[in-house]
Symmetry: C2
Subunit: 410 residues, 2 copies
């Protein structure tokens, strides 16, 4: 028997309904903030991702060749494609651009619980704005979006200048290595590396900084920084917006194109793999051939949000099944069309069996059965059976629609 | 400068809004017919598609290898994946199953106008129903779906038994070759092939059948058929449902798993590539390791529907821009949050420039500007400027929301 590929998923209707509901919530919230949806191809030229993330990412991607021998990769994330699109097609649009996307991505690794080879991201990019307020907007939108999705979470906000100020003066390659350790939260690896470099003093200072929870403590450690005013403004906006968050200078990024604010959101009821959102300020457009463009954004791990949310079957709406005799067929078709026209989910019985048999099948999933025999056909009426109460009425078509659409869904 | 891969597309917000609107319409119509959404992986084991369509399809697909060396293919269509999913996970669900999908597919060929390497399909599968009514349901749903999408189209309905009855007695390989010619509407190739086989008599009979437009004419040519009653019932249901269609016995399918009714829908304002939907009755589940299961369904070429529909920018909804002084910032954040809470698309000005400068930027895309200076902050008020009329009022927050949300979108 053929199976789905390892690490991928099939979604049956109950799960799919819930996913579409949450997707709709996220889309609605993003729109109220002025963000509009864009869509990029499922695959891109391999180079797009190696420019962003380095050659190391190749072994984590699905890579294949074009007919022209060009190397393509299934996208592992969507920020690089969106910025590539911005450089190609969005440069002349009035800035800032507020864009969002909802789409699937791919990673090529051993499948494990909660990590699939095909996974979905909802994300936003705010392109061409360079201010504390722009950074705050992205964080506040993230909060609104996840709150509306119905999960409990905690927000950690940091700023890359803080950690980087402690590394200033080191060789750039060295800085990058240290940032990689920090990004992976590999404190053991970092300590060993710094010891091997004879820099265990730095290890203590980095740890002390990561544990700071106020700007005063932070600037006491780092000294004054060129972007101190902007950092203070960011946190002042967050505070005056009533955001609940943890100031966390320990958040790091291994890659160079992140430039300032960084934030991460963790769901409260997931296990070790509990990060549901990551974001920050970055500059990518110039790497893809455009002008240097300050941007910020975030990506939500949609699948983790669905797990954190737990099973919340959406209100299904009313379902109507139509049972009919052979002689009632044409009237049944007319009745069903009228019910659908009124927006009611209406399923014709297709078995061709007896009315009793059709009814027992309909009762398995529907709220109402419409029974249409020769008498109903002759009178242009509908027998409406309420499957929850057992009550039954013979009504004109318009009344029948009213009866059903006026009832409460289960 | 990096570009999108050849044959793929980026979608900017104006286009994406229209696509999501039509997708929403199709989803809504499918739901009123009792269909529910499913989702399968973006790629499948290569074998799934070669079982369905033969080895020939390999060169039309993007094929790549798994870490385990398994051959995978980006899906060229979604019926086979959905039936694979049915075999894996849906067998015990009460039948018939009414499923729909909306997703992207891939073809690996020279890009040409209107044919992209990544394209979208909206489709439905009605699994486990074997009746004329089931076949009619699928056709009628297709009509409703395309009508609601706002395109003009014509429907052609045929039945494979008709053409096949003329081929009965021929060698099966020969039948298949002839069906392939018919499917591709390659009448020249067919005539040449039949001549080479000394069967030019058949060529004339096939042509005559393809030109029949009534069941009487058809059965006069084919003689009585075992499924004549069912074929008559199908067309009787279509007629009594008021469907406008052309009876077209010339519709053929090259592949063996199509078993009965076939239909195709053509948009009226596209050029040569004007087919927007194809569907029919088939049996596929047993090829994937399940039981033989009568099914029918269709797939809509979503991109062609969008072209046939033409540009119809969706009603955008009201857009509000917020201009503010540094002292008004916190009150501006509160006001913006309240407007969003009321479902209004509200964009904060992020430039940090003068109110005048902010207003001229806002006027480029918004319907209303909210102006928040120190006076508005102190009074807890909002200056609402209607950018269409130029009128301006100083209002309490709740009144301001009322004023804006009560206005008509452009």
């Amino acid at each position: 028997m053929l199976q789905k590929p390892r690490g991928t998923r099939d979604f049956l209707p109950d799960e799919m309904d819930q996913r579409r509901e949450v997707e709709g919530i996220m889309r609605r919230i993003a729109r109220t903030w002025g963000y509009r949806e864009v869509c990029t191809p499922e695959f891109e030229e391999l180079e797009l991702f190696t420019i962003r993330s380095g050659e190391g990412i190749i072994q984590e991607m699905y890579v294949f060749e074009d007919k022209g021998g060009r190397k393509l990769a299934l996208r592992p994330e969507i920020t690089a494609p969106v910025l590539r699109m911005y450089v190609n097609e969005g440069k002349t649009l009035p800035k800032p651009l507020r864009w969002f996307y909802f789409a699937d991505c791919f990673r090529y690794e051993r499948p494990q619980k909660g990590r699939y080879r095909q996974f979905w991201q909802f994300g936003i990019e705010l392109i061409g704005a360079d201010s504390a307020l722009a950074e705050a907007e992205v964080i506040l939108l993230a909060r609104d979006l996840l709150a509306a999705s119905g999960i409990s979470f905690s927000i950690h906000v940091g700023h890359l200048s803080l950690m980087r100020s402690l590394l200033a003066g080191l060789d750039p390659d060295d800085q990058k290595k240290i940032r990689m350790f920090l990004d992976k939260k590999d404190t053991g690896g970092l300590a060993a590396y710094l010891l091997s470099q004879g820099r265990d003093d730095l290890s203590a200072r980095l740890t002390a900084l990561a544990e700071c929870r106020s700007l005063d403590d932070i600037f006491a450690l780092t000294g004054d920084l060129p972007d101190r005013h902007r950092i203070e403004e960011l946190f002042s906006i967050l505070d005056s917006s009533g955001l609940e968050y943890t100031l966390n200078p320990g958040i790091a990024r291994g890659l160079d194109y992140y430039t300032g604010m960084v934030f991460e959101i963790f769901a409260e009821n997931l296990g070790a793999e509990n990060q549901v959102l990551g974001g920050g300020t970055y500059r990518l457009a110039h790497l893809f051939g455009g002008e240097e463009t300050p941007s910020c954004g975030f990506a939500v791990g949609f699948d983790r949000v669905m797990v954190a949310r737990g099973e919340q079957p959406p209100v299904p709406g009313i379902v109507v099944g139509v049972a009919f005799t052979p002689g009632g067929r044409d009237w049944a078709l007319t009745v069903a069309a009228a019910f659908r026209e009124a927006g009611i989910r209406t399923e014709l019985s297709l078995s061709g069996k007896s009315i009793g048999n059709q009814l027992s099948q309909i009762a398995r999933s529907a709220d109402f059965a419409l029974i249409i025999g020769d008498r109903e056909r002759d009178q242009r009426q509908v027998t409406v059976k309420n499957l929850r109460t057992g009550g039954q009425d013979v009504l004109a078509l318009a009344e029948a629609i009213q009866e059903v659409s006026g009832s409460e869904p289960r």
